[in-house]
């Protein structure tokens, strides 16, 4: 392990908490370029002009599955507005992610981070980890743990970001 990298990572750790989305005070937005379960490539930069919820999850993460329906409810509520959900599966195969998708009706893509590099670049060491990226491509909010994304408070916060 490179000491310099360790120190850098330590400095970049964000603050988290319950009770609602927390304003982001960490580093610049890391890159995100991943294929989804259907093979379609998604780049975060493709969604400039929209608010983007980047949610890191895994099928073995119970709180991740718990919050997933509320993410879909939020997406449905904001349908027609420039709001996108990118759910990044951490470390699992396309088959596992696809099987999970078959158990739940989700209108957003499931991206595959097989080698977990993207999750690590985003500091998503503990799941679920979610980041709300503004239309300008900057992370605005973050949250560690399960959250009710359909709650009026969260929805209002994100609607303020949507142009």
């Amino acid at each position: 392990m490179k000491l310099a990298l360790v120190l850098l990572a330590a400095l970049a750790l964000p603050a988290w908490g319950q009770g609602g989305l927390k304003s982001w005070t960490g580093d610049a937005t890391p890159a995100l370029e991943l294929a989804d379960t259907e093979g379609k490539l998604h780049r975060l930069s493709d969604y400039r002009g929209s608010a983007v919820l980047v949610n890191f999850w895994a099928t073995w993460c119970a709180p991740c599955l718990e919050e997933m329906p509320s993410i879909e409810a939020l997406r449905t509520a904001l349908q027609g507005k420039p709001f996108v959900v990118l759910a990044v599966n951490v470390g699992e195969s396309a088959r596992v992610a696809r099987e999970f998708a078959g158990t739940m009706t989700l209108g957003f893509p499931l991206l595959l981070d097989r080698d977990t590099r993207t999750a690590k670049a985003w500091g998503a060491r503990v799941l679920p980890a979610s980041f709300v990226v503004g239309p300008d491509g900057r992370i605005r909010y973050a949250y560690l743990g399960a959250l009710d994304w359909a709650s009026p408070e969260v929805r209002t916060t994100i609607e303020r970001l949507v142009p």
Binding site: L3, L7, A15, W16, Q18, W60, P63, G91, T116, L144
Partner: protein, 360 residues
């Protein structure tokens, strides 16, 4: 005959020393484990806080992290790092109004047995910068590198030239001169100066492997402790070097590494040699016993990875705590009402750890 099946039988220990361990380790594949850490503070006396070590997040050739998830009723949870060693932990806090603070962390890692060839240079070997070399030869609070530590090490390595030879001499000295003391609480805190000054060289992994690290550092060989947890039985049949059940609450174990330019970090575990000697049935085996001798040969340069690494940190100051520094972070830690909980008493704390192997 299938080699792994043969190793798993746990028979024919008298021939173990002759087995081509390096080949067996090199062929080993990744195995995945799920670790669940549950904390439930039974008697909170005010605001409460918990610090749980997380599996090492940086990927290596022998351990990969797939992340952790958390759930519970914490008012605040945060991933923190000690900033010096990169020891990563989940910090959680509860207000005094929470009657039963609860936290559950699920972590997934994959591990692969380690057997780097320390005898030949490798093109892809990790290189230490001058600053890193200095860092890994520096003293810590409990591991001084001067005085009796250096004096002892200089006698041990007299006549040796290479770092490998120095490390080998220190390893053999630790195996020959120490013993596993089952009365030591936890894994021992590794106060190596006191051990050498008193001549009481009994202890557990936190003591014996710290002794290896301190002696190596004191003669300029970069070395470090690696703190972690056993998560599975030993596939090589050593009952004492694995866990028999999914309950791993008391299965913490630290190991050691030394660095050789052009070869990278080399794993060692002299403390486990002494554990084999004490605990392998029928118990209290002499170093000359074939089981112990095989372990002694193998544990210089090999780690069976039925164990996961948390971190390599020393002298850890827990963030948001005014309590004393920890020699290392290998157990759940907590505070309630401003008082530090006993990290070595999971039944009173309370915390529990379980581990299971995952299907490929």
């Amino acid at each position: 005959m299938d080699r792994r099946a043969f190793l798993q039988t746990g028979i024919a220990f008298s021939t173990a020393a002759a087995l081509p361990w390096r080949e067996a380790f090199a062929a080993a594949e990744w195995r995945s484990y799920e670790l669940v850490t549950k904390v439930e503070l039974q008697w909170p006396e005010g605001a409460s806080r918990v610090w749980l070590p997380l599996p090492m997040t940086g990927d290596t050739a022998w351990q990969r992290s797939f992340g952790s998830s958390w759930s519970g009723n914490a008012a605040r949870a945060q991933v923190l790092s000690d900033g010096k060693y990169g020891a990563t932990m989940l910090y959680a806090e509860w207000p005094a109004s929470t009657t039963t603070p609860r936290l559950e962390v699920v972590s997934r890692v994959a591990t692969r047995d380690r057997a780097p060839d320390a005898s030949e240079p490798r093109q892809d070997a990790e290189r230490l910068s001058a600053a890193e070399r200095e860092f890994y030869t520096a003293p810590t609070d409990y591991i001084p590198t001067d005085g009796i530590v250096r004096g002892t090490a200089q006698k041990i390595v007299k006549g040796t030239r290479s770092d490998v030879d120095k490390a080998r001499a220190i390893y053999e000295w630790v195996v020959e001169n120490t013993f596993r003391d089952p009365k030591v609480r936890g894994c021992g805190w590794g106060d190596i100066k006191a051990m050498l000054e008193t001549g009481n060289l009994g202890g557990k992994c936190g003591d014996l492997n710290a002794l290896f690290v301190g002696l190596a550092r004191s003669v300029g060989v970069p070395a470090r402790d690696v703190y972690g947890l056993r998560v599975a039985p030993s596939a090589e049949g050593y009952r004492s070097l694995g866990v028999a059940t999914p309950a791993v609450t008391r299965a913490q174990h630290c190991r050691a590494e030394f660095y050789v330019a052009g070869r990278g970090w080399v794993p060692v575990d002299p403390a486990d040699v002494r554990k084999v000697a004490l605990e392998e049935p029928p118990g209290n085996l002499p170093l000359s016993h074939p089981k112990v001798d095989a372990a002694r040969k193998r544990l210089f340069g090999h780690w069976e990875m039925n164990w996961l690494a948390y971190n390599m940190g020393h002298d850890i100051s827990l963030p948001h705590s005014e309590g004393p520094k920890l020699p290392y972070l290998m157990y759940p830690n907590g505070e309630t009402g401003g008082e530090r909980l006993d990290q070595l008493d999971p039944d009173r704390f309370t915390y529990a750890l379980t581990a299971r192997a995952l299907q490929a």
